[in-house]
């Protein structure tokens, strides 16, 4: 075990995998000398040369599409999007091409492509650099979607993503990059997709949370414990595939559920997860599932306004109490 930051867990995993397999390469905006604006690729160009870690023009459609073409031609590209919001510039390539290639080719192509980058609020990046985009990629079939919340998960899920022969949207969070934690030294350390993590065990209510909301849920849990309320926290870790059993078994135990994420609440993953709970555990529910997510409003620049749009710890506390008819 080594203690490292989330961003270093990502970097070290890429480096270890690049040492193992020379088909793996990294491309994206400013990934070379700068090492990515958050440092996730720092040192890779120095170790592996600019042949295997190189800057692209600011042309997201071109380099995402080139990642697809290279993957079909036997390489294993890792494409960095500087901000996940920039995926929208390359959406034809991601949704019409990358996600569908294998299927519409009748299964005759493999697309071992990782598209990774960070999203979310917290650094004053405002409306077009702070969005949470995971629901879009969960909606369209053909992409796997991972969103780790800890350094260990970042390392284990990224290694699984890199070794997967399918396209993976690997979604990081800018606020989590500095988060430190233990990461196993095992060079083959992998976390399977579709296996949720039980972050905290409890019996009164299940909170399903992703990214920074795992930590906000823990804060809420501490407060609620003072009032004798014992919550269970589940981090799905991957959305495609989604650990339906892991989530629903927890809800069957607690009888209550709050789903919380930073993305907009409307058509967010919370809607899908809440509906999945209803499909599979309705008879166990003692209260309606509560969904928390950002208000239907572009993300504002001002910190106070930003906080007013995305859910806060107090909102989680209130939501849990609502499921217990204590609010």
């Amino acid at each position: 075990m080594a203690v490292m930051s989330y961003v270093n867990a990502i970097k070290e995993t890429m480096a270890a995998e690049m040492r193992r397999d020379e088909k793996i390469f990294v491309m994206g905006e400013d990934v070379e000398v700068l090492g990515g604006i958050f440092g996730a690729t720092r040192g890779l160009a120095q170790e592996f040369g600019v042949e295997r870690c190189f800057n692209t023009p600011i042309s997201e459609s071109a380099f995402v599409g080139a990642g697809l073409g290279a993957a079909c031609a036997g390489m294993r590209p890792i494409v960095e999007l500087m901000y996940m919001d920039f995926a929208f510039v390359a959406m034809d390539q991601i949704l019409n091409q990358v996600a569908k290639t294998r299927y519409i080719f009748g299964g005759k192509a493999k697309v071992p492509l990782v598209i990774r980058g960070q999203q979310g609020v917290g650094r004053g990046n405002a409306a077009t650099h702070s969005q949470s985009v995971e629901a879009i990629f969960m909606h369209f079939p053909g992409l796997k979607v991972a969103m780790p919340s800890t350094p260990e998960d970042a390392a284990g899920l990224l290694r699984t993503a890199i070794r997967d022969d399918n396209p993976v949207m690997f979604i990081e969070h800018k606020q989590l990059y500095i988060k430190k934690g233990e990461v196993p030294d095992d060079p083959d350390f992998m976390i399977p997709f579709g296996k949720a993590r039980v972050v905290r065990e409890g019996k009164d209510c299940t909170i399903v949370a992703t990214h920074v909301y795992v930590y906000k849920a823990l804060e809420a849990a501490e407060e609620l414990a003072k009032e004798g309320i014992d919550v269970e926290i589940i981090d799905p870790r991957t959305l495609v595939p989604l650990d339906v059993d892991g989530i629903c078994n927890s809800v069957k135990k607690t009888g209550r559920a709050v789903v919380v994420h930073e993305a907009h609440r409307t058509c967010g993953i919370g809607a899908e997860i809440a509906s999945t709970i209803m499909d599979n555990a309705f008879m166990y529910l003692d209260a309606p599932v509560v969904r928390l997510g950002a208000k239907a409003c572009p993300l504002p620049f001002n910190l106070g306004l930003e906080n007013a749009v995305v859910p806060q710890t107090k909102d989680i506390i209130d939501a849990v109490k609502k499921t217990l008819y204590k609010a």
Partner: protein, 324 residues
Amino acid sequence: MKMESSQLKNVYFTMNKIRKFEEKALHLFETNKLRGSVHLCIGQEATPATVCELLNPDDYIASTHRGHGHCIAKGADVRLALAELMGRATGYCKGRGGSMHIADVDAGNLGANAIVGGGIPIAVGAALASKMQKNGKIAVSFFGDSATNEGVFHEALNFAAVWKLPVVFVCENNGFGISVPQWESTAVKDLSVRAASYNIPGVTVDGNDVLAIAEAFAKAAERVRAGEGPTLIECKTYRWMGHWTGDPQPYRTREEVEEWKKKCPIKRLREYLIENGMATAEELDAMEKKATDLADEAEEFALNSPEPDPEHVLDDVFYEGGDN
């Protein structure tokens, strides 16, 4: 560079194969045996046939919504191609892709592409892989005139030019983006001038002239194989049929279409081969007959092929392990 007479005869046969295949597809469409969006390249066969004749079997291409010609020229079995157009289980894509997404990855065809310009960066990526693997393979990106108005065209050309990637950009300019003539949608007359923005050679040729296409492409291929980077080739041609099989074509006159039919690339090459003593009329007739027979065989194969089993509709969304 001059094509050998054997190569020219191959091109002649390939053009006929494409023509007869598409006439068959049209017939099947008109008799309600084939459905969906079908974009025919009748009249435009010279570019796919000539370019692919000059490629190695393991070179890559990425194609367009008007992609039957590229698929056949790159070596597809017309039976499997027609079966795909008819959505049959035996088709190249097991009936999942259809005319607009037909692919033959084993032959280096990274797919037709129903999004205008969508295949261009994919070809660039295949070229990137070739460069990294140092395997000598090159890629050809086929696209239409309207694709050069898409952002991704410019992004991909710049990307490939910066990295001197082994890709040749081949624009088939048939004069129309669906119903809109080029002059109405595009600020330049010769699309090859757009190469200047990317500091790569750009050349415009008569897209119905096999010899002209061969000369331009051979030069471009030599350049990329030497690691000197991409070329943009514009092949000016004309589609005889509508944009799709149901197109009423109010945007052009019959006379205009008839004028272009006089410039038929197949007829033109036939005359050249005979005049230069490279082939006899009988030899070429036999090729045409063989192309007709292949189309007939393809029809029989496709019509007798099973429909895909809906039980397997979810297969291949993801690779789950195993052989393919």
